[in-house]
Amino acid sequence: MEFWRIPLDADEIQITRGIVHIIEDRCKGCGYCIEFCPKEILEFSTKFNQKGYHPPMVVKPDDCVNCHYCEIICPEFAIYSVEDTMNMEKAQG
């Protein structure tokens, strides 16, 4: 993570990691999750789902910080993230 000024406790802060799950057939392709993901880890995929929309796909899976924003803003209940307990990393200054 890049900081303008490094917080004093940057070494101690643990950043949670998340795994994004996408229920592709519920997606209606509004693009909210892609546009508003704070880490910009999502992108439209080229494939179609059952209804003919392009669902999002995860392009940078390691960057997810499990903030659940995609989960709340998705109007279709089609995306959610769960904590990745195996891959907890310390913040890099």
Binding site: I73, F77, V82
Partner: protein, 280 residues
């Protein structure tokens, strides 16, 4: 609940009637986001969901009651609040949530809204304001901003819209806030607070209607959200008279009113059922 399980489906699946999902709301419609914020708030607030009911009127947002896996009621047009009032009076233990749209709550049901607020009936009103009558084809509504184009006002709306928080405050609501669907976390916290609040709580949620309102005003769904990001000002405790919706000047969001007043049931019991009058 299901949060810790891995890949076991969406965490809100337990609160949804899955046989009815996907819902009918258009791609980019904000009602889905407001609905999911509402469900998350219900889940995290710790209220007894067995004693929580959701009431909706007619309109796009009126469908909300049909998708939630609680006791839910889809009532006639504009009558969600009187229905909910009746339910609350009959069974004061219930947590009553009214989830409906601006047309239902303020156009045909405006009268019921002001009287429920006056009586301070203990319920939570979530009003999805998408600035037009979305379900019937995008006609002008009492909340359509000045000079906005709709099906019935192709040259622009000549009228002033309602200032909903001011209306709620003036009628006696004890909790008033306004958020957009982009401010999902604030919205969720606000709904959570309102659910726990004793008294009439009103939350206005600004939501895009890309198919009917947005198309005629040259706004795609993402453009609407950009406008919510750029032309809104968060100002808690702002006076309700400042809260007119005018995106050129900036729309004020926040929690405006949080008062403690005796509720309808308490005042009724005190006046009409004093202890010495009870025969049991």
């Amino acid at each position: 609940m299901t949060q810790t399980k891995k890949s076991s489906g969406h965490p809100l699946d337990g609160l949804l009637r899955l046989d009815r999902i996907p819902h009918i709301w258009c791609p980019g419609c904000g009602i889905g986001t407001a609905f999911s914020s509402c469900l998350i708030a219900m889940k995290t607030s710790g209220i007894d969901l067995q004693k929580t009911v959701m009431v909706s009127g007619i309109g796009c947002s009126g469908r909300g009651a049909g998708y939630v896996n609680l006791d839910s009621y889809h009532t006639t047009h504009g009558r969600a609040i009187p229905f909910a009032t009746g339910m609350k009076l009959a069974n004061p233990e219930l947590n009553v949530v009214v989830f409906s749209g601006d047309g239902d709550l303020f156009a045909i049901g405006g009268n019921h809204f002001i009287h429920a607020a006056r009586r301070n009936v203990d319920m939570t009103i979530i009003c999805i304001n998408n600035f037009n009558y979305g379900m019937t084809g995008g006609q002008v509504a009492p909340t359509t901003p000045y000079q906005a184009k709709t099906t019935t006002t192709p040259a622009g709306n000549p009228e002033r819209p309602f200032n909903l928080p001011l209306l709620a405050y003036a009628s006696g609501a004890t909790y008033v806030s306004r958020w957009t669907i982009l401010h999902t976390r604030d919205l969720m916290e606000s709904i959570e607070e309102a659910l726990k609040k004793r008294g009439f709580s009103f939350i206005e949620v600004l939501a895009p209607c890309p198919v009917n309102y947005g198309r005629r005003n040259r706004e795609k769904a993402l453009d609407s959200l950009k406008i919510y990001q750029e032309r809104t000002i968060i100002k808690n405790d702002a006076h309700p008279t400042e809260l007119d919706i005018d995106f050129d000047r900036g729309v004020i969001l926040g929690k405006f009113i949080d008062l403690d007043q005796p509720t309808c049931t308490e005042m009724y019991d005190k006046t009409c059922r004093p202890k010495d009058l009870l025969y049991d």
